[in-house]
């Protein structure tokens, strides 16, 4: 069975070159950049195969209901329908999930959120699928949904799931609990539900093996091996019967970490014996993946009159929605980042992640830390005001340094240049143009194309946000990565299961191989499960983990190459090194090109990269639960129309602790993209649910920033190579989202002189 590539550039990157040139530290253009701009890149949604069928999913219209009866006979009567599946047709495990397996492949007794999968069909055409779904009769006993997280905590709502309504409760108790004041500032902060809003919708093509003895799934995902594990369990097959191949991914941001259509597509393909393709539309996508946790955070800071933090009290309530997904890990990230990038030795924190009949919440860029940062940065501004300091000074006085501790007792051993980040951000030039710009373009005013304001209606504000973000997985999880490097005739071929979602690993691979091995040509092998796991493309971890794996494999290959050359020329291998594209003898005169040195031989090495082990938190929230940390500072300048409540973010200045920028162009892209999502959360992005019903599951009404909403971004990359990081490089993907949101909100507060404690900030919050 052949998979048809409609694009000229494969989304799997198989056989593509990792950039055309460039070593570590160079700005290397993405190999898929031009194809994506030209429309020739093959996304997962572009895949087809000979004789393939379309799959589609029946979803619950109710947020909470008991299923009395499902009658699928009507669907079978429609010409062109080849399969109709319900919970009864799942041969293996009936449920899946990233941490606890609590989500059904198909609901069978209860539906717990609007859009939960009930059944799937395969047919000859998407229209046939739609008619088949419409012909399935489901009788529901509609129940009143649990939508208030506090009712999940206080136990006043009967369990909506056998696992109960509390997904996780975690306290952190550290230091002297009696510290009070002398300065006390307090606030309650709320964050709405943000969607990852990737552009490439969920899509997959499942190919059954002959006789149904296995399945190959081409899918846009974030973690091939975790997908395989969950899919195989539900199919009732051993892992090796399930092969996962990366389909071209159009953005992820956490939304592809959980299973969506994977099991459904495989089941339909195995049932029909034919390839099955599923692609969601935008509305189905909003229902079909997890979102950022809506969250309410109360915080009280006790500080000295000089503004130094003495103790923090906090309570986090995170709405996990109907199924657990990664809620327990998101909660731990949130509560362990309560203090932000500031010293604090005394804390009392109470955190809850709970189950409701809202959409399931899970991973999104920033993973719990975005929520914590909105609260701690709001508190820092309140503290500054209470002690009469400016926002920069109060942050400098408390800035964390290497050797300081989290409120979990964990020592920060990484580079922690927080004060430098704040100072470098402050040194970046403020926008020189006045409100509306030098050319007085009304499009640049708040309201933009709507021409709602004149320059005299606008006030400008400046705000700060500083953040800390953990990198890699936490709590004793070994999220290792594997890479295989094969060198022959001067060409390095690199094999890995690292998912490229747009973050740029495909350029880093070549840069590492060229730098370590001196090869000029680096070819990327197919990205699939025919090698060990790479872990997830999330948690800002792939440059560190998979970069480390590729570097490790390259070093092994280099050792073998040196041994080979040493033997041929009667030298000691330790005398040899790579200089540019040559192997050279540091003690003699030998110099030969790597291409010549590898002519006629094959060196093939595999390396598994593990980070140091971490611990679980104890009952008091103490323990070395995180792997590493990165830091960032943001300063936002906004123009606000106070009377209409409209905002134009004018500029974001940022200094980011990147360790070492392996591909500066890529780092800048991550920073600008992360800031776009941070700005979106600050002023517009919210998926609304009322009584569990989603109100705006379209891009008409779920608004993400346009070019006109995007501020100018000025960047200072702070490069202090981290001794714990492979190649000194820290992950850079998440920090831009962590504190850009609080910076924008602080700037709005500064402009209008009013407290704002909820994001996204709505026009009516500003002008009411």
């Amino acid at each position: 069975m052949t998979v048809t590539q409609t694009g000229t550039d494969t989304g799997t990157f198989a056989g593509t070159h990792s950039g055309l040139a460039g070593r570590l530290g160079d700005s290397v253009a993405r190999p898929d950049g031009v194809p994506k701009a030209q429309g020739s890149f093959q996304f997962a949604g572009d895949l087809t195969a000979d004789g393939f069928l379309w799959g589609a999913t029946l979803r619950s219209p109710h947020p909470y209901a008991r299923i009395v009866r499902i009658d699928v006979s009507g669907a079978w009567r429609i010409n062109g329908v080849e399969a109709v599946l319900t919970a009864a047709d799942v041969p293996g495990k009936a449920t899946y999930g990233l941490i606890s397996h609590d989500q059904p492949v198909f609901a069978s007794d209860y539906v717990r959120f609007q859009g939960e999968a009930m059944a799937a069909v395969a047919a000859d055409h998407p229209d046939t699928c739609r008619r088949a779904l419409a012909a399935i009769v489901v009788e529901y006993e509609v129940l009143a949904p649990l939508t208030d997280p506090e009712r999940a905590i206080d136990g006043s709502f009967p369990p909506i799931h056998p696992d109960g309504n509390v997904v996780r409760h975690q306290r952190i108790v550290r230091g002297d609990q009696s510290i009070h004041g002398p300065v006390v500032v307090e606030g309650t902060y709320e964050l709405g539900r943000q969607d990852q809003a990737f552009l490439g919708l969920e899509a997959a093509l499942a190919l059954p093996a002959p006789g149904g003895d296995g399945v190959e799934l081409h899918v846009a995902t974030q973690w091939l091996h975790e997908d395989r594990k969950q899919i195989a369990a539900c199919l009732g097959m051993p892992d090796e019967k399930v092969r996962i191949v990366l389909g071209g991914v159009g953005g992820a941001f956490g939304a592809r970490e959980d299973i969506s259509l994977q099991v459904h597509a495989c089941l339909l393909a195995l049932r029909t014996g034919r390839p099955v393709k599923i692609q969601y539309d935008r509305e189905e996508s909003f229902h079909g993946h997890v979102h950022r946790h809506p969250c309410t955070i109360w915080m009280r800071h006790h500080a000295g009159t000089d503004g130094t933090i003495r103790r923090i009290e906090a309570r986090f309530v995170m709405d996990g929605g109907a199924y657990a997904s990664t809620s327990s890990a998101v909660l731990i990230n949130a509560v362990t980042h309560t203090q932000g990038p500031y010293r604090c030795d005394h804390a009392t924190v109470d955190g809850w992640a709970v189950r409701t009949n809202n959409l399931p919440s899970g991973a999104m860029r920033g993973f719990g830390v975005v929520q914590a940062a909105f609260a701690h940065e709001g508190q820092m501004d309140k503290l500054a005001a209470a002690v009469g300091l400016d926002p920069v000074e109060v942050r400098l006085r408390n800035a964390m340094r290497t050797g300081d501790h989290l409120i979990t007792g964990q020592e920060i051993v990484n580079v922690a240049p927080v004060a430098r980040l704040i100072q470098e951000t402050a040194a970046l030039a403020l926008p020189t143009e006045p409100v509306g710009g030098h050319d007085h373009d009304p499009m640049r005013l708040p309201g933009g194309a709507g021409r709602t304001a004149d320059e005299r209606h606008i006030v400008r504000g400046i705000g700060w946000g500083v953040g800390i973000k953990n990198l890699m997985y936490s709590e004793a999880f070994d999220d290792y990565s594997t890479a295989r490097v094969r060198v022959a005739d001067g060409v390095a071929t690199v094999k890995f299961a690292t998912v490229e979602v747009g973050q740029g690993f495909v350029t880093i691979v070549g840069q590492i191989a060229r730098t370590v091995l001196g090869v000029e040509e680096v070819v990327i092998d197919s990205i699939d499960t025919e090698i060990g796991s790479a872990g997830s493309t999330s948690a800002s971890r792939q440059t560190w983990m998979s970069g480390g794996a590729v570097e490790g494999a390259c070093r092994l290959v280099r050792e073998r190459l040196f041994e080979h050359v040493a033997e041929l020329h009667d030298l000691e291998a330790v005398q040899l090194e790579i200089d540019g594209t040559d192997v050279v003898d540091t003690l003699g005169s030998l110099r030969m090109s790597v291409a010549a040195a590898t002519a006629g031989i094959v060196i093939d090495e595999t390396f598994e990269h593990h980070h140091p082990a971490t611990e679980e938190l104890d009952e008091l929230g103490q323990g070395n639960c995180h792997t590493a940390f990165a830091f960032v500072a943001h300063r936002a300048v906004v123009d606000v129309d106070p009377e209409l409540g409209l905002v134009k973010v004018v500029q974001i200045a940022t200094a980011q602790d990147v360790g070492r920028a392996l591909n500066p162009l890529s780092v800048v892209g991550q920073i600008e993209g992360g800031i776009a999502q941070g700005v979106g959360l600050a002023v517009m992005e919210e998926l609304l649910q009322v009584d569990g019903i989603v109100k705006n599951a379209t891009f008409t009404d779920y608004l993400v920033p346009t070019f006109l909403d995007m501020p100018d971004v000025v960047i200072s990359l702070v490069e202090e190579p981290d001794p714990h990081a492979p190649m000194g490089a820290k992950g850079v993907g998440e920090p831009p989202t962590v504190s850009s949101t609080p910076a924008v909100v602080a700037a709005i507060r500064d402009a209008i002189g009013k407290d704002l404690h909820r994001v996204p900030v709505r026009p009516s919050d500003i002008c009411s």
Binding site: R130, D281, E283, M443, P446, G447, G448, A449, G450, R451, T452, A453, D454, H457, E643, L644, G645, L646, K648, V683, M684, L688, V690, K695, N696, T698, T700, D701, L703, P705, T706, F707, L708, D709, R762, P763, S764, C767, S768
Partner: protein, 281 residues
Amino acid sequence: MSVIVATSLAEAFAALSAHPEATLVAGGTDVMVEVNAGHRHVADVVMVNRVGELCTWRHDGAMLHLGAGVTWSQIEAAPIAEWVPVLAQAARTVGSPQIRHVGTIGGNLGTCSPAGDGLPGLAALDAVVHLASPAGERSLPFAEFMVGPKRTARVAGELIIGVTVPVLRGWQGYSKVGVRNAMVIATASVALVTDLDGRTVRLALGSVGPTILRCTEAEAFAAANVDFANGAASAAVVSEFAALARAAARPIDDHRSTAEYRRHAVGVLAGRLLRRAFPNE
């Protein structure tokens, strides 16, 4: 399903009489969104985007006739923009450049959403909408054409062929509030047209009622209290004008906004537009 691409009015009428319930498509920027979302099932389609008669405009002295197929990108540019600035400004807020290249004023009338960006301007200009069928033509004032949210006086078999608006002397403008600085559906919108010769100020509100609302009290108040000769209005007049606009609104709460904010916003916009029209205190 059939798709008929008409290249003349005669062909369009023939197609419509063969398929009276056919969906008419010009730019398709409203229809295709609904089709793709599964909210509209299309049986037969008559494409009118290549009907030459619909894609032209005509300026004869005091009046401007816009064919239904005239696009927003035509309206936002000279010369049309110089004759009807209120429509040009509305055009600049419609979707993205790609949408404006194919979306038409006739389509805006055909959909007739209370949030339609072109409609407050047409209401303020007292536009006349022209409908035609093989039986003949009829013309309706905009206020009689739009009868409810997404409901018009057009009957099956009729084609919206164009709209006639006056070319007036005096300031015109359109402002729209949305939660994004571009490519956004109006939460509230206001069109204001001044007629220096007729000494009138016309004010129309969008997205705050089932149809576009004309604010006759505010208009009468302005006509009586602004200084047309000197382009002046006192702060008190601007403030009262805004209050009358607020009072005329009939907004609802929905997922895009609260009724309260919508009412507030049209007041602010009406006041600001009056000040732009009469910049002197």
